[in-house]
Amino acid sequence: MSKKSFRQAINEALRQEMRRDPTVILMGEDVAGGRGGSAGVTDAWGGVLGVTKGLYEEFGATRVLDTPITEASYIGAAAGAAVTGLRPVAELMFVDFVGCCLDQIMNQAAKFRYMFGGKARTPLVIRAMYGAGFNAAAQHSQALYPLFTHIPGLKVVIPSSPYEAKGLLISAIRDDDPVIFLENKVMYDEEEEVPDEAYTIPFGEANLTREGDDVTIVAFGRMVGFANQAADRLEKKGISCTVIDPRTTSPLDRDTILECVADTGRLVIVDESSPRCNMATDIAALVAEEAFDTLRAPIRRVVPPHTPVPFATVLESLYMPSVEKIEAAVTATMNHRVVEKV
């Protein structure tokens, strides 16, 4: 066990699963990255942010496939390889590029098991980077997990830390259904203790990063860290929070969310995806339907405005949910007073 970065945790998960199971292959743009430099390395890029570095050298060109810039073809090929016996891990680089291959994901991979009467397995993982805060502009900054969550037949995973990333990615690779695995591009250098051995974290079980009495905060991916920081500050003011990291948006651990809301009576949802039809609206609807009478204050959402992600740094930081915004939302829900009807 040692401290590993989010990037290393993902690299280690891929490496260990490729060693364990020869049917695991990688496909994607720049997953090797070509020859480069005076040293003549064969994986100069190792992924656009270096996540797959070293895998090409260990596993070679038959298992690490550096593809052309044609998402429709290689995501389609990966889906086909999955139904015919391999376990491909295809990298979409920026999740925003899903526009080029949505049919392959939405109408093909997601539907195989259902349309073939349960006889087909599609053990496909699609890794992609998501999220703003990287100053990468509107076409490279979206948090599109609600789009995938909307499609039955897909599993959607959003790891919130290096430990979570390794265990969830190994589960994704061993899973027999298509899994969308979303990595926040700002988190690759975050570090924590990660076991050297392979391990799995099951889908559909939320993690409580802290337990409190006053407010339940549900947050996703990078927002879990923000929520924990806000909860630290709020604790000093005497407000104690439960922070739920659902880990997967599909399947969603509804029970844990409902139980925690029943305990605290207050709910704040932090979601960095566009605010219409996102996870915050989904969970707000769930709680309104199933736990309305346990609420002591209206549900609050900490979400960005309904605009493309701005490129200008100051506007981008204004756009993003932040620790301060979460703190303000929790404080507001605590200050809410029910007006008695006369």
């Binding site: 066990m1 076991p195 051995e197 392979a198 391990y199 079980e205 993690n207 802290r210 337990e211 604790e235």
Partner: protein, 380 residues
């Protein structure tokens, strides 16, 4: 006089504990207290435990308020004789706080030493944590089925006064490698002997809990010259009966809620089993190979729904001092299994305590062990 003033500081209950919250003071300032009296409830991210006074005196000052979160080692209260003037107490607190703030700024120099390490013993990798130093015979702690060295979090440091105390993860457990061979008591006792060789320890006290108690007894049979004394905490091997709902449930549970229910068999006070504790166990259980190791051990040690090893002949034949500690409310191995043993074996039957007395009644267990080593072992 400053030497009459004793600081009460935030204790360190376990490896992972870096800070604790004052969950509630149990004494008022001005109260006269005895050694071992319950002073304050401390809440960590994993468990809430009562901190007991290390000495007798007057509880002069409550420095930390209820609900306050403080790092390990921070001043939470002051004990002194009633005759010590208030001004001296104030000066003491000021000086302590200044020195503590300074040492906290020094970084992790000292803390880094007090951590588990990994050693290679033949084909096995073992995680072990060593504390304490001194001339007394070292003590080795062997945890039970599904446990790890953190099972001794409330005992390890307390027992490491004047002696080395080594806690380690058995193969298949915690941070150790997951190959458990045939999964028998003899296998684990054999690995323990090789660990003693590796650490160059010719003779040790052995304290074992549950399956670890069975391993300790097997070790005493296989290498009696290595064992100075045996402390057996709810040990395996003294009866057939075992709660297979615990064993099978522990192996099968892969979700927090399911595991939390199973872990409740371990204690009498069910409120001790929090979500964090289940999370921690799941981190181990989800490692590749962990579940298979547990299944191998269960098949070898608990075939056909009961304990396979009868160690009563071993405990009767043991010629080193032996003591037995058992919680009367044990729901895994019934406390009646402590009956019918030679009179030379002192038995400590703890009322309203479950299968983990070392956790649920840590101070009592620590006192029993110290007394046992001091009297029985010294005179034998």
């Amino acid at each position: 006089m400053a030497q009459d003033i004793t600081p009460i500081t935030m204790p360190k209950f376990g490896l992972a504990m870096t800070e604790g919250k004052i969950a509630g003071w149990l004494v008022e300032p001005g109260a006269s207290i005895t050694a071992g009296e319950e002073l304050v409830d401390i809440e960590t991210s994993k468990i809430t435990n009562t901190f007991e006074s290390p000495l007798a005196g007057t509880f002069r000052r409550q420095v930390a308020a209820n609900g306050e979160m403080l790092p390990v080692g921070a001043l939470i209260g002051v004990v002194a004789d009633a005759a010590v003037p208030d001004a001296d107490i104030d000066a003491f607190i000021t000086r302590f706080q200044a020195e503590f703030a300074e040492s906290a700024g020094d970084g992790e120099g000292d803390a880094a030493v007090d951590e588990p390490v990994t050693v290679t013993v033949g084909e096995y990798t073992l995680r072990l944590h060593e504390r304490g130093e001194g001339d007394e015979i070292p003590l080795v702690l062997i945890h039970g089925f599904g446990g790890d060295l953190k099972n001794w979090m409330f005992n390890h440091a307390a027992l490491a006064q004047g002696r080395r105390v080594i806690a380690f993860d058995l193969p298949g457990h915690g941070g150790s490698s997951k190959d458990v061979g045939p999964g028998t008591l003899e296998f684990f006792a054999g690995v323990t002997i090789r660990l003693l060789d590796h650490l160059d320890l010719p003779r040790v006290h052995v304290m074992g809990h549950s399956l670890g108690g069975g391993i300790a007894l097997t070790l005493a049979r296989m290498a009696p010259q290595r064992v100075a004394s045996l402390v057996l905490v709810a040990p395996a091997g003294l009866g057939r009966q075992i709660n297979m709902d615990f064993i099978n449930g522990f192996i099968a549970a892969d979700r927090v809620r399911a595991l939390q229910d199973v872990l409740k068999y371990l204690v009498h006070d069910k409120s001790l089993i929090g979500r964090r504790m289940a999370d921690d166990v799941l981190r181990y259980k989800r490692l590749d190979g962990a579940e298979a190791a547990l299944r191998t051990i269960a098949a070898a040690c608990f075939p056909a729904g009961q304990q396979g090893d009868d160690l009563r002949p071993d405990i009767q034949a043991a010629d080193m001092p032996v003591t037995l500690i058992w919680g009367q409310a044990d729901e895994v191995l019934p406390a009646t299994q402590a009956e019918g043993l030679p009179a030379a074996i002192t038995r400590h039957m703890l009322a309203d305590i479950g299968h983990m007395p070392q956790l649920e009644s840590a101070t009592a267990v620590n006192t029993i062990v110290e007394e046992f080593i001091k009297t029985k072992v010294a005179t034998s």
